[in-house]
Amino acid sequence: MESENDWSETFSGLNDQVAAVAQGQLRAEALCRAYLAKIEKFDDELQAFTQINDRALEQARELDRKIARGEPVGRLAGAFIAVKDNYISPELECTVGTGSTAWNSPGGGANSKCVELLRAEDAIVIGLTRMHALAWGNVTSPTKNPWDTGFVPGGSSGGSGAAVAAGLCSAALGSDTGGSVRMPASMCGVCGFKPTFGAVDSTGIVPHSWSLDHPGPLARSVEDLLLMNSVMAEDPSVLGEPADDRTLSGTAVGLIGNHFSERLAPDVELAWNGAIDTLTGNGASTAKYEVPALEFGLGAIFAIEVVSAATAFDQFVSAGRTGELPDDVRDLIDMGRMVPAVDYLHAERVRKLLFDEFSQVLAHTDVIATPTMPVTAWPIGEWTVDVGGKEENVLDASWRFTYPFNLTGLPAVTIPIGRDERGLPIGMQFVGRPGADMELLEFAKKVVCKTASIGNPGGYE
């Protein structure tokens, strides 16, 4: 790793990196140089980052000196974290995907609590990642998908997904209002986690929809998500026994018969069926349930999200500044003023109904399993996708399986389970009981051990 062209450690994962740095087998400076060199080489094309921390190398050297002096270091010493452009931090300019710092004012000016917690454990912020403007979309232009640069990385945390997939950081932070961590993680072939609503402090993250926004990590493995979440949620209960020593016997997995099995792309359906076979073949039991209120989920999330976002950015709407936004984002912000208050409150009632129905399922099961998305990444520039023979708007198609868990606040994790005929990643989502975040991640860790790896996108070694 001492050679400038040795980039092998950039794909080794957060846990392995911090262990190697803590034991003196890897210098933080060498790892930092490798990441910076890779970003310089690949990010002109990928466009995953909006800004690089120009003090990262200096901070890495200071960390190496601290280790050399024998001083204790934090659990993330040697981790280089990419941070979504809606987290406010002291040394980088948060622009919420707009290119202007003016738009971060709804964040209230406080620094991100998550970033503070990561830095307190000696993580180094490598840079800010590109996002769909105001966290309102799933394209993240002009970021490209490392698996095929003709395809979108997903969004709104698309830069974070691309950066993790290409090995340009140890792990990344995203935010998830309707699936914005899980969708890019799924489309870029990495792991992504949305904690229980409120389990991670969202102070210092520019709000989009106060009751739907969830901070969350993207990483190369579930073990890395566990470590990140342990720090972000200030929960020390991390890393139990090795996952490959345990079976899935005795785990009850709930499958939802409506909504989540409707209109899947054929390759997604194939991978999903194979993943369920893997679960049952390793001892898990499955049972099907219905969640009738999902029929009203789309109306509920739209009503809540557009009203909330229009309120959060009201001063910009009133000042006529929405012309600075991409057309799709501008439309949705403007629509927030068109939802009647009565419909907004019906949406909040539907949300409670949905929570009650999912709680009924989780009373009989340990986790719920769904495909993460009905589709894989789509070509850049396309705004509709063919899903099972029906043309759908990319937003409608892509977030269908993720937004129910923003409405309910339940914890949800995505893991890669395969690739489609074009080689693009497919994800599987597991959902847990409220507050059972670590248990959910431990389960996902076991599943990954039973699932064939999809590997890394080529060309970034």
């Binding site: 009203f296 068109m338 009565v342 419909d343």
Partner: protein
Amino acid sequence: MPKSDVRPKGQDREKALREQYAHVWEAIAELKNAKLNGISPIVQFDPHRESQNGK
């Protein structure tokens, strides 16, 4: 550089958004058909927590 605003304003803008996102407005209009008897909306206000915060 802000884009010049060439879109329709006021009622024309609203009409255009209703047409372009017709499926969204249909989904929102459907909310009233959910079986919501006895269901109160989720609200975030927590007087106990607020009083502890001194607010």
